[in-house]
Symmetry: C2
């Protein structure tokens, strides 16, 4: 591999999270599937926000969270995503650049406002999300910075990007650029319902363009239309060079060629809010890969980062992850 100026470049929906506590009853009344992400329009977002409890606002977006994690670990990261030139867009740009991630995608100057994700966190720490995509629908192939992609060891794509209309094309363009430059392409499946909405396209992408795949149990089972995790794991093996399959408190399973590695979850005193757990696992894992670490160590770093993020409200790290990893003597 050529030397690279960036460790990882993430491409994703640029979103500001609005996080509130909610009870199970509220989710049922509003018709949301617990733990999943539902797309909503601007009107529904306004109506839902009015019914939600007091909230905090925090920059989010799956790949955005991952890139914040990479930067917090000490990695060099870039981000591609679309905000509007409004207050939330400024907040998103401030937060991701302030943590040290390069973010040059121009803001939309017309059209819908910056995306918002209304995150409802239940007593058990589980999060259920309702996303208004807003300006994210304007992301297209023209936003893919070929120099940035070519300069990154790994290009990381979030599966949620299959929802906005022109992002799949942006995705494929980025993957092609990365591979032409001799780089690797990683994908997170993001959400079982998102996989269900775009299953054929996801399968084609995974089989043809993805080197490193992240998925949780529900997502990998949805991709291969099975309820059996072992069957889904067998199906993905060989489709990608590395598959990191996360299983919440059970930890993760890493598949690479004929190898399998089981990695434990890191201990958490109290699970407060699981938002961003998968995103930060990916951050730790990818950071490890770019440092040439063995796969089980990559998984252990991922587990540590995920444990930090679920111990507090919000999906961006509250402490420097580099220090956390160092203190845990994982590296």
């Amino acid at each position: 591999m050529n030397s690279a100026a960036f460790d990882v470049v993430g491409i994703g929906n640029a979103i500001v999270d609005v996080i509130a506590h909610a009870d199970e009853r509220f989710l049922v009344d509003e018709g949301f599937a617990s733990g999943a992400m539902t797309l909503i329009d601007a009107e529904r977002a306004e109506a839902l926000y009015r019914k939600m409890g007091p909230a905090i606002e925090s920059s989010g977006g799956s790949a955005g969270n991952t890139m914040a994690g990479i930067a917090s670990l000490g990695g060099a990261g870039g981000y591609i995503g679309k905000v509007r030139d409004d207050l939330l867009g400024e907040v998103f740009r401030h937060d991701i650049t302030a943590i040290g991630v390069r973010f040059d995608t121009p803001a939309a100057t017309a059209g819908p406002g910056t995306a918002r994700c209304l995150v409802m966190v239940t007593q058990d720490g589980q999060r259920t999300m309702a996303t208004y995509l807003g300006a994210c629908v304007d992301l297209g192939p023209e936003d893919i910075d070929a120099d940035l992609i070519g300069a990154a060891q790994i290009t990381y794509l979030e599966g949620y990007l299959f929802d906005p209309p022109r992002a799949q094309a942006a995705f494929r363009a980025a993957a092609a650029i990365a591979h032409r430059a001799g780089r690797q392409v990683a994908l997170s499946l993001s959400d079982p319902f998102c996989v269900g909405r775009h299953r054929a396209a996801f399968r084609e992408l995974v089989a043809g363009d993805i080197d490193i795949l992240f998925a949780n149990e529900a997502e990998i089972c949805s991709l291969y239309e099975t309820e059996d995790f072992a069957a889904a794991a067998a199906a993905v093996r060989g489709q990608v060079a590395v598959a990191a399959l996360t299983r919440s408190a059970v930890g993760s399973v890493i598949l690479a060629g004929a190898e399998s590695h089981v990695v434990a979850a890191a201990p958490v005193a109290r699970i407060v809010d699981t938002t961003g757990a998968g995103d930060l696992y990916a951050a730790g894992f990818l950071y490890g890969l770019t440092r040439g670490l063995a796969l089980p160590t990559c998984g252990a770093v991922g587990s540590l980062c995920a444990a930090e993020i679920i111990s507090h409200v919000g999906a961006r790290p509250e402490v420097a992850l580099a220090g956390l990893v160092k203190a845990a003597c994982v590296l």
Copy 2:
């Protein structure tokens, strides 16, 4: 006392907090007094925000935090404060009404935007604040809802309100209405530098119009221009019916007539962010008073609420304080 529809009505600067971690060096470089609140203009706020780390946004404002605490304890609260009709104004209104506080003050439709407080939290959990008052400067006597004040057992004023130009008049109008209705008036001194800016006016108000006074050590010492806490405590005794003087980890001292009560601080596993500690102590204390509890018990409830707020980032409660107080068997 007549029966009251509201337990407490708070009057304050309606502010959205922008909270980021910072190191001591940054505070020194920017010229901020650690632990204090500095007023800044819009331009400085923009420049400072650009230099700050990744942040979260959370509704704040000293009296706003206190009222959120009262509601979280199960009390009936109202709030008077000025936002602009912009996104942050909507966020502030959403959060305070969603927790159950009555907030009817109309938003300004012109002039500066909703106020922001840039909160810099250092490793030790100490917070240093830089406030752009924005729309708060438009609060005036015409915003005082006489019916609301008359219907509340206690009207609570934050000392920070001495800064915007017309709020002192609003303050005095509210105190007069409350007393005419046979109600009580409480004041928090808010900040030692704020006391320094308006010492004569504060002393006159305390001596003439205040029934219940909240202050920390630095504030009460600033009010009476002494470095000796005992001397300051002696000076305030008799000026007000009740003075609750908070001393961080040492707990609080409550003075009432010839009585003195020393109340311990509640234990905290890890102090993450002290923003709102005084505000939430006041919430617990005032809630206790409206329930007719003995003064030491009022202080103990205040200590519990303060302990919750300093255990996480942000100055609004993350859990229902009513449950917390119940679990601690204080009531």
